[in-house]
Each structure stands twice: as structure tokens, then as C-alpha cells.
């Protein structure tokens, strides 16, 4: 039995994989310019690694792995430094009055109420998707990264924690807060 050894053909990368990688990036960072940069960086980084390619994976798989690493790197950059503290603080402030401080009961003014999402299936609703997207973009960068890795690629909690450098308990707090904010935003903006 022979195992297929994959070859790299850098001169065909753009034609064969550029759109695929662009789509992959945009789905995960939702920013065209940044996605373009990432595709370019991926090819250039890949050229440096051609000699190390062992042929065990298909060319596209190998390129995608490089891109994925770059996306996570970008997540990390976006959610570190000063900016993170400001956007996380803002988001936390928004939800500080979701619950009564003493026992943690819902503050009735901010409590979930039934809205459009309950009676019909908004999955098919284009308008709803655009509201959903806007609400997701309002989440702090770190929360959105955690959220995307979990819901887009079904990464395990361990992977997300180690890649984004959050503790497991902080991971659950982020998932909870992101969902609380997202739900509140949807209720508020539902037409």
C-alpha cells in the first residue's frame, strides 16, 4: 500500500486556493481588509515553510492550518492590551443591572420577555441574521473570539482556553456573559 505524498505548487496557489482561504478568513473575522491581509500573509509564510512540508496533508489543508494559526493570533492581538479593558468594561457595565445584587434574581426591567424569536423560526429570516450579526459585533473582541471558536469550529474548551489564554472558569463566565448580552441585544433590536 502506498500513501499519497502531496506536492506543493506555489505558482498555482492563488488560482487554486486564494478564494477558499479568503472565505475561510472572512467567516471568522468578518472584516474584508483584514481577511485579505491574512490571505497574503498566509501565502508568504507558507513560502518560507515549503522546505519543511512533508507531504502528509493536502496542499489546501496545509495552507488552511497556517491561516488558522494567523487568525487565532489576530484574536489574541485584538483582545489584549488596553482596548480589551475598555470594551469588556463597557459590556460588563451594560449587564451589571441584569440581576438584583442580593440573590441574583432577574431585575424585572431587564428580564427576558418573549419576542419574535419565540413564535416563528427566524432561521430563514434574512433580516434577523443581520441583526444577529450586528449584535455579535458589539461583543468585546475576546468574547467574540471565544464565541466564534466555539460555535464556528466547535473547538474544545481546552483548545480555546490555551489558544486565547483564558482560564477554564473565565471561559464559562465569558460564554455566559456573551450570551446574556447577545440575547438582550436581540430582544432590544427585534423589529
Amino acid at each position: 500500500m502506498t500513501t499519497k505524498i502531496h506536492q506543493l505548487e506555489p505558482r498555482h496557489w492563488v488560482a487554486a486556493h486564494a478564494d477558499y482561504l479568503f472565505t475561510y478568513a472572512i467567516a471568522r473575522i468578518n472584516d474584508e481588509e483584514q481577511a485579505k491581509d491574512l490571505v497574503q500573509e498566509t501565502f508568504l509564510a507558507a513560502l518560507q515553510k515549503v522546505a519543511k512540508f512533508e507531504g502528509k496533508s493536502a496542499e489546501r489543508t496545509w495552507l488552511t492550518a497556517i491561516l488558522k494559526y494567523k487568525i487565532i493570533d489576530l484574536y489574541r492581538k485584538k483582545s489584549s492590551g488596553l482596548a480589551i479593558n475598555v470594551d469588556v468594561q463597557q459590556a460588563e457595565q451594560e449587564q451589571s443591572d441584569f440581576f438584583e445584587p442580593e440573590y441574583g434574581h432577574w431585575n424585572l426591567e431587564r428580564a427576558p420577555q418573549s419576542f419574535g424569536i419565540d413564535d416563528h423560526d427566524p432561521v430563514v429570516n434574512k433580516e434577523f441574521n443581520s441583526i444577529l450579526q450586528k449584535c455579535m459585533q458589539k461583543l468585546p473582541a475576546l468574547w467574540l473570539s471565544v464565541f466564534t471558536m466555539k460555535h464556528m469550529d466547535d473547538e474544545t474548551t481546552d483548545v480555546i482556553c490555551s489558544e486565547l489564554k483564558v482560564t477554564p472558569s473565565n471561559f464559562w463566565v465569558i460564554i455566559h456573559r456573551a450570551k446574556l448580552n447577545l440575547r438582550a441585544c436581540l430582544q432590544k433590536n427585534w423589529i
Binding site: A15, N30, W106, P112, D118, R183
Partner: protein, 100 residues
């Protein structure tokens, strides 16, 4: 092993019934991970008496489905780079290759 028994004094019960913050946390944790048996019981007790959190649970499950759907839609709808960008990229790659 009586020490591990779930202690359901009126005081704990009251705390569980009032703690929507914790209940929503457990709902989220259960959605993508595991919660302990004790947490499951607490959540059941809470949801039994709390209509708001039952609404929350229904909505959050639906939101998760929609988020996944949105992500998979965007992953499956192919985007195209413009030709100028592609040409520049191609030139850069050729340049790098010719250097070696």
C-alpha cells in the same frame, strides 16, 4: 455517605429559587459542556419555579442554533478576491520563488 447529600434546607432552597444569575450560567454551561448532578438538580428546581428563566432557556437554545447556522452559511458562501489583488499576490509569490 451523608456528608455529600444535597442539603435542601429552606434557606438553600430559597437561594436556588432566587438565583437567576446562577441558573442562566448553568443553562449556558449545560448547552456546550457538562454540569454536575448537583447543578442539574439545582437547575431543575430553579426552572420549575421560574418562568423568566424558562423563557431564557428557550431563547438561548434558539440563539445558539441561529449563530451556528449563520456561521456555517458564511463559511459556505464563497467569497471572491478581486482580480487586481490576486494578480499582485501572484506576482509577489513569483518574485519570492525567483529569488531562490
Amino acid at each position: 455517605m451523608p456528608s455529600k447529600k444535597l442539603d435542601l434546607t429552606m434557606e438553600t432552597l430559597k437561594k436556588i429559587q432566587n438565583n437567576c444569575h446562577k441558573a442562566t450560567f448553568l443553562i449556558e454551561k449545560k448547552l456546550i459542556g457538562r454540569i454536575t448532578l448537583r447543578e442539574k438538580i439545582e437547575l431543575k428546581i430553579h426552572l420549575f419555579g421560574c418562568g423568566i428563566c424558562r423563557t431564557y432557556q428557550k431563547q438561548t437554545i434558539k440563539i445558539s442554533q441561529m449563530v451556528r447556522r449563520l456561521f456555517s452559511d458564511s463559511a459556505n458562501s464563497e467569497k471572491h478576491l478581486d482580480d487586481t489583488f490576486k494578480k499582485d499576490l501572484q506576482d509577489r509569490i513569483e518574485n519570492e520563488l525567483d529569488k531562490n
